[in-house]
């Protein structure tokens, strides 16, 4: 306000800053608390984990590792991993690629950006593939593509549904066109699986973009997403620079996609297992009019 400029009589408030002592700093070890990026609430990591990484205050869905996802979705003790040993090479001799992969291996304890396996969801046998955005941004190279394709084939052999949780920045740049072709390879496998009557359920989690959203993530008989997940083909910045227009706030969120006809439903993480189990039950062969 302009009049405030002239209102100088008011005594200035003294400002104090709290400087934590070294001792109090050490009271809270690294990682014990976490801050929600959306509502800024600070909470115990343990409580957050217990709540399936969903913010206790605003319901924001934090990321999940493949293993956390597996534990939240697959019946305990039923999971058998597939193709655990499949590892990346450096087909383009891209400088530093394998070092980066190795670093992420150390960081995540995963061999690659995806976990595949056979397991049960409330007693229904399925083949599940779970991407991990913590490993090279969940990007898809030859190994991710091959593991997905093998998982689809395994679902076909077992005649059980194929479920994929996607979380990916897209194709892996360091493997060049071979990455692009994983879009083709996985889609070709899904087509054959689908033609034989196979059930495909895709669950898009934050983020699902680029070549992954433009291949298997969008090819489910049912396409679902978690609330607030970023889903899209081209990145927001690229689009804004190209069309020179500011995009709406909710652009490329799960809710935006639902409104634009791209999703069957947005499902809260807490309801995920129950809803998918219901769908699996609907597809259980041999239903009869009682």
């Amino acid at each position: 306000m302009i009049k405030d400029l002239f209102n100088k009589q008011k005594p200035k408030k003294k400002k104090y800053a709290t400087i934590p002592t070294e001792a109090s700093k050490q009271d809270v070890p690294e990682g014990i608390m976490q801050k929600c990026p959306k509502c800024k609430k600070i909470m115990y990591t343990k409580e957050l984990k217990k709540n399936l990484n969903v913010c206790l205050q605003c319901g924001h869905h934090h990321g999940m590792t493949s293993l956390e996802r597996r534990d939240s979705f697959i019946d305990e003790g039923t999971f058998q991993e597939l193709d655990a040993a499949l590892s990346s090479t450096n087909p383009l001799n891209f400088p530093g690629y394998l070092e980066k992969v190795e670093a992420d291996r150390q960081k995540t304890g995963m061999n690659e950006a995806i976990l595949t396996g056979v397991g049960q969801v409330e007693g229904h046998e399925v083949v599940v593939a779970i991407m991990d955005a913590n490993f090279r941004m969940g990007s898809m190279g030859s190994v991710v593509g091959e593991k997905i394709t093998r998982a689809i084939e395994e679902a076909g052999r077992r005649n059980v549904p194929f479920i994929i949780f996607t979380a990916s920045g897209g194709a892996r740049m360091q493997e060049g066109v071979l990455s692009l072709m994983q879009m083709a390879k996985t889609s070709v496998a899904l087509k054959r699986f689908s033609e034989n009557g196979g059930l495909i359920i895709s669950i898009m989690t934050h983020p699902t973009t680029g070549g992954v959203s433009a291949s298997f993530a969008s090819l489910g008989d049912y396409n679902f997403a978690e609330p607030g997940a970023l889903i899209g083909f081209a990145g927001r910045r690229i689009i804004e620079q190209t069309i020179r227009e500011k995009l709406p706030e909710d652009f490329q969120t799960a809710e935006f996609l639902l409104k634009h006809g791209q999703l069957d439903a947005v499902i809260h993480r807490h309801d995920m297992k129950e809803k998918i189990a219901f769908l699996l039950d609907i597809h259980e062969p041999g239903g009869e009019l009682a």
Partner: protein, 316 residues
């Protein structure tokens, strides 16, 4: 409960009975006998009025603001309904709802027009008048049903496809036509039930099936009575006359051989008791579905072909 013009005497009598009951309970005067007499009169009056409804009365009934909608029936007829959204092309049209559900234990796909229950919802659902994306969503769900061999149940309740600029730009005609074409070949049993208004092509786009039923007080026509009056006599106020002339009631359509059966309604209209109305639908739907499930796919498709082939009247 909102009363229609023709049922005013019933409403008035009901009001009087309620008044007397209230009076008896709060004062010493005992009017039990009078109340009983009036209730008997009410029964007779209801019978007289509801059994001699004119086509225009039925039009009003089909449009009754409290008339049960697709989602109301889904709740009563099915267990574990899961709504699925979107046409994967442009949008999700709230004027059509659809999804998977269980019907007496059998997985089915159910799709229907959806009106709103109040103004706000009606705006969201464009008064139950679909855009092309609504029909394309319906088709997507039907194709999915075929892939997984689930019977399809369609509930029809629309004034018609949405008349608008955007709808035309996105191919309203193509969307309706595509549904007629594809529904003819759906390799699963398809049962269609008109639950309210069956308005023209917008209704027919969910209406090609092996069995077509209509609720007693629903209508099905090539155009609304108002539209017909405007076209035929250049006077939309002659809608009442058009309703009689156009043959749009369930009874008329049964006579014309267009529908397979009429589903009776609760006395006074479906909205008087939704659960009971759902039970009346169930009584027709279940045996029909049972019958269709016995047929092979070629038999099913042949019968469907013949069913539509024989509609129409002409001489040589």
């Amino acid at each position: 409960m909102i009363g229609l013009e023709f049922e005013k005497p019933v409403m008035e009598l009901k009001g009087k009975i309620a008044e007397l009951k209230e009076f008896t309970s709060t004062s010493d005067v005992d009017l039990t006998e009078e109340i009983e007499k009036l209730e008997q009169r009410l029964k007779k009056l209801e019978k007289d009025i509801y059994e001699s409804m004119t086509p225009w009365d039925r039009v009003q009934m089909a449009r009754h603001p409290e008339r049960p909608t697709t989602l109301d029936y889904i709740q009563h007829l099915f267990t574990d309904f899961m709504e699925l959204h979107g046409d994967r092309l442009f949008g999700d049209d709230a004027a059509i709802v659809g999804g998977v559900a269980k019907y007496h234990g059998l997985p089915v796909t159910v799709i229907g027009h959806q009106r709103g229950r109040d103004t706000k919802e009606n705006i969201k659902r464009t008064f139950g008048m679909p855009h092309p994306e609504g029909y394309r969503k319906a088709l997507r769900l039907m194709n999915q049903a075929v892939k997984f061999k689930r019977p399809i149940i369609c509930l029809i309740d629309t004034k018609g496809a949405y008349p608008g600029k955007a709808a035309e730009e996105r191919g309203q005609s193509e969307a309706i036509a595509r549904n007629l074409f594809e529904m003819a070949g759906m390799e699963v049993p398809v049962i269609c039930i008109v639950i309210g208004e069956g308005g023209s092509g917008g209704a027919l786009a969910l209406g090609i099936g092996d069995k077509l039923f209509m609720l007693e007080n629903s209508t099905y026509s090539v155009i609304s009575p108002e539209g017909a009056a405007a076209l035929l006599w250049k006077d939309a106020s002659q809608a009442k006359r058009a309703a009689e002339t156009m043959k749009i009631t369930a009874g008329d359509l049964k006579e014309l051989g267009v529908i397979d059966a009429i589903i009776p309604e609760v006395s006074g209209g479906a909205h008087r008791n939704i659960a009971q109305q759902a039970a009346l639908i169930d009584q027709m739907l279940k045996p029909a579905l049972q019958e269709l499930l016995q047929l092979s796919i070629p038999e099913l498709l042949d019968n469907r072909y013949i069913k539509y082939k024989q509609i129409g009247e002409y001489t040589l």
